[in-house]
């Protein structure tokens, strides 16, 4: 790790590359990246970690981290991660996925990687929208929410109800750590980082599948300012996607980090 000056309070983590992201200003994809990088630094995992990027706005995640990365087909990151983990069981493997990627096209793969108790970590960015393709409805889009593919607002009768992945995956016996956090303010960002830490601790201890669902913003497709987007998370998303611990292996529950 970089040597830290005595009076240094915060500096950019080493596990982040210096590359400027293509994310829109204020998009909390960047915050999630930063937290992962900080955790990898603190756990000293950078040199043994392989990330799996999704198809979505974070498709270029591999450019922004300073460790090995592969890029998956849309929704298949958990399968790809399984392939890697099975032939390199001692390496740390995580996927980074959006809600369209994980909860729509990738539903079967995420369910089964959890059922298998695959020792991988999934960072799940729930922004209630398809960001990259320009704001279509996601499985996590809120009822009534207007998107380019629900122009009159999401009508739950014909377009279905939001899917709560953390709750669903906590039904899987193979899951060791399943929680939902949010990136909308400093306190919750701190909690999110701790959760990411515990997810990787779960993997390092071989306690099964771990996932951190992060409520994240998409100012561009929500068509609000970055700060208003954070308010939207707090006021509108959290009621539908309650924050909390949905499954925590007792060994991890005891853990102090």
């Amino acid at each position: 790790m970089a040597t830290t000056l005595p009076n240094l309070v915060y500096q950019r983590p080493e596990s982040l590359s210096t590359r400027v992201t293509h994310y829109c200003p204020g998009c909390t994809h960047g915050t999630a990246h930063r937290l992962i990088a900080e955790v990898l630094d603190e756990m000293d995992l950078r040199e043994q970690t392989i990330g799996v990027a999704p198809v979505g706005c974070s498709v270029f995640a591999y450019n922004y981290f300073n460790h090995d990365y592969v890029e998956a087909a849309h929704g298949r990151a958990p399968a790809m991660a399984t392939g890697i983990k099975r032939v390199l069981p001692n390496q740390t493997v995580y996927t980074y996925q959006g809600d369209g990627d994980l909860a729509s096209i990738g539903m079967a793969e995420i369910m089964h990687v959890a059922a298998r108790g695959e020792n991988i970590t999934v960072i799940f960015i729930n922004n209630a929208i398809y960001g990259m393709t320009g704001g279509q409805m996601a499985p996590t889009t809120l009822p009534g929410m207007v998107t380019t593919s629900s122009p009159a607002g999401r009508d739950v009768e014909s377009m279905g109800f939001p899917i709560r992945m953390a709750e669903i995956l906590s039904n899987m016996d193979g899951a060791g750590y399943i929680v939902r956090r949010s990136l909308h303010n400093p306190a919750n960002i701190r909690k999110s980082k701790k959760a990411i830490r515990l997810a990787f601790e779960t993997q390092q201890r071989g306690l099964g599948f771990s996932m951190v669902e992060l409520l994240s913003s998409c100012p561009t497709n929500w068509k609000v300012t970055p700060n208003d987007a954070l308010t939207f998370i707090e006021d509108n998303m959290i009621p539908t996607f309650p924050l909390g611990d949905y499954k925590v292996n007792e060994e991890i529950a005891k853990l102090r980090v």
């Binding site: 293509h22 829109c24 200003p25 498709v59 960001g131 990259m132 320009g134 561009t220 497709n221």
Partner: protein
């Protein structure tokens, strides 16, 4: 006679809409026309450009390497298209965001302070109209009224209140072109 126009600038400068406007007008004038945008994975920033072709006959390729007319709304656009524009072509450059001269002397160039004029009129969001007006003045590709009419029909409802302002922007742009073109031509 076929005229190819490339409008290029930052995302958000209204380059794509300006191009569509010319295409609508061309259609109203009974001409063949095509509009084709650049499209990218990024939702924000970066440059956006489109190619408009207006012709008397059926149009083959909707893209051209060497356009007849270029509206360069920012410096990167000028850098990219100055070498490509056809000899004898027309370059309208947005002086407000471009701090350099132009090398080519085989083309007609108009430097116009698009943003400054637009802000003078009350909104920098009309920069694209200012430059369009200037272009229409320097090329006889379409009558200004046809474009105004197209704008009237296709301006998004939320912007209708700016219709007159946009008209004015085009006229001022055209006027500027009339008065200043000598300088560089």
């Amino acid at each position: 006679m076929e005229t190819s126009i490339i409008i290029s600038g930052f995302g958000g400068q209204g380059t794509l809409f300006a191009g569509q406007l010319l295409t609508y007008a061309a259609l109203d004038c009974g001409k063949h026309c095509t509009w084709i945008p650049s499209y990218g994975p990024e939702m924000r920033g970066g440059t956006a450009h489109c190619t408009v072709i207006i012709s008397e006959e059926e149009i083959g390729s909707p893209i051209v390497r060497n356009p007849d007319v270029v509206l360069a709304m920012n410096l990167p656009s000028l850098d990219k298209y100055e070498p490509l524009i056809k000899a004898g072509g027309v370059m309208i450059a947005n002086q407000s965001l471009i701090n350099r001269e132009i090398e080519r002397n085989d083309i007609t160039t108009l430097f116009i302070p698009g943003n400054d004029i637009a802000e003078g009129l009350g909104s920098s969001r009309t920069t694209n109209m200012v430059m369009a007006g200037a272009m229409l003045e320097l090329t006889s590709v379409l009558p200004l009224d046809a474009v105004k009419n197209a704008l009237d029909q296709h301006i998004p409802a939320r912007n209708r209140k700016y219709l007159e302002l946009n008209y004015e922007a085009m006229e001022v742009g055209a006027k500027f072109a009339r008065e200043n073109i000598k300088l560089t031509a």
